[in-house]
Symmetry: C2
DNA sequence: TGAAATCCCAGTAATTTACTTGGTATTTAA
DNA sequence: TTAAATACCAAGTAAATTACTGGGATTTCA
């Protein structure tokens, strides 16, 4: 049960933006190079994040991307959901209420899947980009 | 980030075995029909579970499959890991120590991924098939 | 006006997942 | 002792998803 590269790369890339928060727009090629991704692929990820209001862009020369908010206001949950959709381990445990696995609610497996989903949500909704930065710095100090 | 049908179907199918625990071997077609799967596909799932010692088989007429242990001794974690591999959201957060994402340990994203993995593990290792049965009965009572 | 950048859409390559087919081996019951 | 019921095994194929590429349009700054 893996997060796709979309989610992982996207998270790593937006984290780069978080590290540069307040320094104006950062061009794509900058981040792409750092992450070893093609510009066009990263562009797609950023396009998604932008449409979901997590980052904003400045077009034209000297343009680029930046966080739409302080790092402390953007959670890993928002980022992963933007790129990956809901983080449920199965449709029947997801956010779409029109999904109904036909077995009624008592399905024992569904109860398990919902518990998994809830525990994932709890983690990702409680880590902000700022937390990631802080943790990083802390790790660095320990080296 | 979905569990594959392998994991879901397998879990639902072995749960059927748990409901019949103590009643001798249950033939495949029985379970396959109940779950709406082809026998040959379910066979593959059960083959994996058997090799991992979670269920055992009796060959020949009147044969079939049964749990290798009491339902209380078999966890959802064992089942999902048997069918899906480790439940980490990325290789770098998984059990294989030879994987090394080249960025050193301080990688902020890895820290997040490990937290997700740990929280999933905590849930699935603390639910046994017996728990699923109990929960089911409880739900039924509430109807 | 030209270079640096985002924006957008569509296509393709690669990988993984889901499932099927066909045949073998074992055991029981008639 | 044979036919039926079952598990066992390996390989192949179909379908879906994921990952990535390409090309052109638009915007902005120097």
């Amino acid at each position: 049960m893996r997060i796709s590269t979309k989610g992982r790369y996207g998270l790593m890339a937006i984290f780069e933006l978080a590290l540069e928060y307040g320094k104006g727009p950062i061009p794509l090629n900058n981040i792409a190079e750092e992450q070893g991704l093609s510009e066009s692929y990263l562009e797609q990820l950023f396009s998604t994040l932008r449409k979901d209001g997590l980052i904003k862009s400045v077009r034209g020369a000297q343009g680029g991307y930046m966080l739409a908010n302080e790092p402390s206001m953007i959670t890993v949950g928002q980022i992963l959901r933007s790129l990956e959709g809901d983080m449920a381990p199965a449709e029947c445990a997801g956010d779409d209420p029109t999904i109904d696995c036909s077995k009624e609610d008592g399905c024992a497996t569904k109860l398990v899947l919902v518990k998994i989903k809830d525990s994932i949500d709890k983690v990702i909704d409680n880590i902000s980009l700022q937390d990631m930065i802080d943790k990083m710095e802390c790790e660095d100090v320990l080296d």
